[in-house]
């Protein structure tokens, strides 16, 4: 691990892309610039992201062979906030360590690409993930666009789990509890190649912090 470089060379033959996602389990992968998987490591545990993230990163680096990492793709959620932030923090710090850019990608894009390219799902479909508090996060996609990126039909929204179907109106529902960092990396690579930005710097929280403004102090009586 000595190739720490701030120099970006688009023609570097061994360029690889790292992806990190902790929106569900913890998933880390390295792919070649052409999208081939180099190394992939994941746990499906919806907790424990902080414990495993370092070892998973180390494992994909060790397993990937030679290659200079050109980008770090960060899965931006939606997902339970506490876990989600760990992957984003790790992705950003990793990128900082190598002086390379972070490519933020909404995590549902990875699940959508898996559905389309691995599971051959056609037509409109909804990626549904747990959002805690008896809610689910839903994004509706339909195929891929000209850049090979899943096309969003309806932006991500939160609904009570029991109401999910009424919001889907017959659209095929795909419930997901883990996702492929390889596919996340692929979406990031395609977005980057097309010069597109799929997410902002802020995670997809979809919910304000759970706080209440203090009222008058409670009476304690005498």
């Amino acid at each position: 691990m000595s190739q720490i470089s701030g120099v970006m060379n688009a023609d570097y033959p061994g360029r690889v892309i790292l992806a990190v996602d902790t929106s569900l389990g913890t998933a880390v992968a390295l792919i070649d610039a052409d999208g081939r998987s180099r190394a992939d490591a994941a746990t499906v545990d919806p907790l424990g992201h902080a414990e495993v993230i370092g070892d998973l990163l180390q494992r994909v680096l060790d397993g990937a062979g030679a290659g200079e990492i050109s980008h770090v793709v960060a899965g931006m959620g939606p997902g339970p906030f506490t876990g989600l932030r760990i992957g984003i923090a790790a992705a950003r710090a990793f990128a900082l360590g190598r002086a390379i850019p972070v490519v933020p990608v909404p995590s549902h894009f990875a699940a959508a690409l898996t559905a389309i390219e691995t599971d051959a799902v056609t037509g409109a479909f909804a990626i549904v993930t747990d959002a805690r508090r008896r809610e689910v996060a839903i994004t509706v996609f339909d195929g891929v666009d000209g850049d090979g990126i899943p096309s969003i039909v309806a932006d991500t929204f939160l609904v009570p789990r029991v109401d999910a179907d009424t919001h889907l109106d017959g659209i095929r529902r795909i419930d997901v509890d883990s996702l492929s960092a390889v596919d996340l990396a692929r979406v990031g690579a395609r977005a980057n190649a097309a010069g597109r930005t799929l997410a902002g710097a802020e995670p997809l929280y979809l919910r304000a912090p759970d706080v209440s403004l203090p009222g008058a102090p409670k009476r304690v009586g005498s």
């Binding site: 720490i4 990163l57 760990i86 009586g221």
Partner: protein
């Protein structure tokens, strides 16, 4: 090995602290605080703090590096707070520290926040080195702990801690009772300026003879807070204006009295003539005054690091790791997590085993 160059990451509460030290020399102490965002809620909101850490980390690391005039490739190690603290906030720092350490291929040291507060002392320029053993009193919005420090890197014992609110929390809550803004510490200090500290005799928590048997070095501030609330309510019921200055001064006196009394009792009981103060509440002028005055009378030497090193910061985390490295400790494995209740005896978390070939890393 020459003095190790270490970058420390601290995110246990509402300060995103990045510090860079070379051994015992402070190169940068960068702090981004989300305190303003918590002000409207009257206290630290964990989710708000965690969101702020994620935003602040990268710019803070960059700022610290440029301030220190070093590059990431120059570092000998990365250090991070593993606990104690707010779990969700700690995890942001742990994730970042692991990402950075793996990216750079540098060793990572996961350390204890409370012991970090003690380590802050060794960064104090031009002072005599810390002598052992010493009693340490750490007081902040998150903790109130009394420690017996026999060695910074290997032997720290918890003598006592708060059973309910931290002292800083008590200041915040009483400030609210007096309709003063957050954070309460400086506000109470200001309000107390013209007050009479002897005007009202508020209770000293866990100080009765019966309590002292079991909780000699422990603290409790919730009874004090309730006593203040009752007092204020009684004023209102009687239709008299609350004498804010006197209440503030008398409340502060009760907090300071119990903190200093218990700390000096520990010094006397254990025959340790040294007291180290740390934590954000040390900013309270009256606490410093009383501690210095009464310690002197008791023949105890008081050490107070500069305020910028007393509040939560990354430099103290880096300093502790640098001491661990210098004392031959191996890095932590990558498998540790955030431990919101990490005991003070765990100075370093998840130290890696001696490699099979016996060659220390």
């Amino acid at each position: 090995m020459s003095a190790p160059l270490v970058l420390g990451i601290e995110t246990s509460c509402d300060e995103t602290g990045i510090g860079i030290v070379r051994g015992r020399t402070l190169l940068s102490n960068t702090i981004a605080s989300s305190m303003d965002e918590h002000a409207r809620y009257g206290g630290v909101v964990p989710e708000v703090a965690a969101r702020a850490h994620l935003e602040a980390l990268q710019p803070s690391i960059e700022k610290a590096l440029s301030e220190a005039g070093v590059g990431l490739e120059d570092l000998d190690a990365v250090a991070v707070t593993s606990g104690p603290g707010l779990a969700g906030a700690l995890m942001v720092g742990v994730g970042a520290a692991k990402g950075l350490a793996v990216s750079l291929g540098k060793p990572l040291y996961a350390v204890n926040h409370l012991v970090g507060h003690i380590a802050a002392d060794i960064l104090t320029a031009d002072s005599e080195p810390l002598e052992y053993p010493t009693i340490a009193l750490l007081v902040s919005g998150g903790h109130t702990s009394l420690l017996h420090v026999r060695d910074l890197t290997s032997d720290v014992e918890l003598l006592g801690e708060t059973m309910d609110d931290a002292a800083g929390e008590a200041f915040d809550k009483v400030a609210r009772l007096l309709s003063l803004p957050y954070p309460g510490g400086p506000e109470i200090d200001r309000a107390a300026l013209d007050g009479d500290p002897a005007a009202i005799r508020f209770p000293r928590g866990l100080s009765r003879a019966s309590d002292m048997a079991k909780h000699r070095y422990d603290f409790s501030f919730s009874g004090l807070k309730t006593a203040v609330a009752r007092w204020v309510e009684r004023c209102e019921a009687d239709g008299v204006e609350v004498p804010v200055a006197d209440v503030a001064a008398s409340f502060r006196e009760a907090v300071v009295d119990v903190l200093v009394t218990k700390a000096l009792a520990a010094c006397a009981d254990l025959g340790v003539p040294r007291l180290l103060l740390g934590g954000g509440v040390i900013a309270n002028r009256r606490l410093r005054e009383v501690a210095v005055e009464r310690a002197e009378a008791a023949g105890v030497t008081v050490r107070i690091p500069p305020l910028s090193l007393c509040t939560d910061n990354g430099a103290m985390i880096a300093a502790l790791a640098a001491e661990l490295i210098s004392s031959g400790r191996r890095p932590s494995t990558l498998a540790f997590g955030a431990d919101s209740t990490l005991p003070v005896t765990e100075i370093q978390v998840a130290e890696s085993a001696v490699p099979e070939d016996g060659d220390p890393a």
